[in-house]
């Protein structure tokens, strides 16, 4: 029983820190509130879709910026997509990193775009790692709860 309480506290504190440090915002709470018995894995599912989407877009951005003649309109469209999806799941720092990126696209500033891409990739890998840790903690807590149920 003690182990479970400790896990609960760890999970609570970890989640709180993600919000405090700005990795997540209120929109993530919205996702959690939508999760119910009819869809108990909703948050993991949506976040996984976001990971797949983000990785696809980051690859496209890298390729696009490597071209001789850069299509800034296309670049901007991709950044806009990433800005939107990160906002929809509450990945605040990724969302915010996309904003100056879009400005550089409009200005057709290659250096600025390259710097922004690095920043977005950095923020993305941070939030991905943190969310994966969060989900792992939730799994452990669930496993611990189920183990409790088995003890008669």
């Amino acid at each position: 029983m003690d182990g479970k309480v400790q896990l609960q506290k760890q999970l609570f504190d970890y989640t709180a820190s993600l919000f405090q440090e700005g990795f997540l915002d209120n929109q993530f709470n919205q996702l959690e509130q939508l999760q119910d018995e009819s869809n108990p894995d909703f948050v993991v599912e949506v976040v996984t879709l976001f990971f797949d989407d983000a990785e696809r877009i980051l690859n496209e951005l890298t390729t696009s910026l490597g071209q001789e003649k850069i299509d800034f309109k296309r670049l901007d469209a991709h950044v806009h997509q990433l800005k939107g999806s990160s906002s929809s799941i509450g990945a605040q720092r990724v969302h915010e990193a996309c904003i100056p990126f879009r400005n550089f696209c409009t200005e057709q500033n290659v250096e600025g775009c390259l710097k922004s891409l690095q920043q977005v990739k950095h923020e993305y890998s941070l939030v991905k790692s943190k969310l994966e840790t969060l989900f792992k903690m939730e799994e452990e807590l669930l496993a611990s709860s189920l183990a409790d149920l088995k003890v008669v």
């Binding site: 997509q81 906002s87 929809s88 509450g90």
Partner: protein
């Protein structure tokens, strides 16, 4: 959201579950809007772009109704920024059709640009909602629809 069994003032016959067509090119956003609407007791069909939405509504030239034959769409909710046909263009096509022009269309956008909002409302959009979508937005939306008289 009121329970599904209560009588409603929906535009369709009372007792029916509202059928919403949600259009968005983003898979993440489609999943989110679908869950938000399902949690508000709506039946949801999603489309990833304008042309597919028109097809589902039976408005593509030469196409037979695929959705409207059996289940009537009571609301269309669409993203504004989509490659190819924008949400605004989709709105116009729906409002120009004789069959579907009465169906309320809601536009979603991550950008709060007054000229954009105004042009959508002038073209007959029921509402303009700012993304990211929240439960309170969907509640407001469904309440407004309840009040649409026929």
């Amino acid at each position: 959201m009121a329970s599904g069994s209560s009588s409603s003032n929906w535009v369709m016959e009372s007792g029916d579950i509202p059928h919403v067509l949600a259009v968005d090119d983003s898979l993440v956003d489609r999943k989110l809007v679908e869950k938000l609407l399902r949690n508000s007791c709506c039946k949801v069909t999603t489309a990833e772009n304008g042309p597919k939405a028109l097809e589902l509504l039976g408005l593509s030239s030469g196409e037979q109704n695929t959705l409207n034959g059996r289940s009537k769409v009571n609301l269309v909710i669409t993203d504004y920024c989509m490659p190819g046909m924008t949400g605004y263009e989709l709105l116009k096509k729906i409002k120009q059709s004789s069959v579907m022009k009465e169906v309320p269309v809601v536009i979603m956008s991550s950008e709060n640009i007054p000229t954009r909002v105004n042009k959508c409302l002038e073209e007959g959009a029921q509402m303009f909602i700012l993304k990211p979508l929240k439960q309170s937005d969907v509640k407001q939306l469904t309440c407004q629809l309840m009040n649409l008289g026929r």
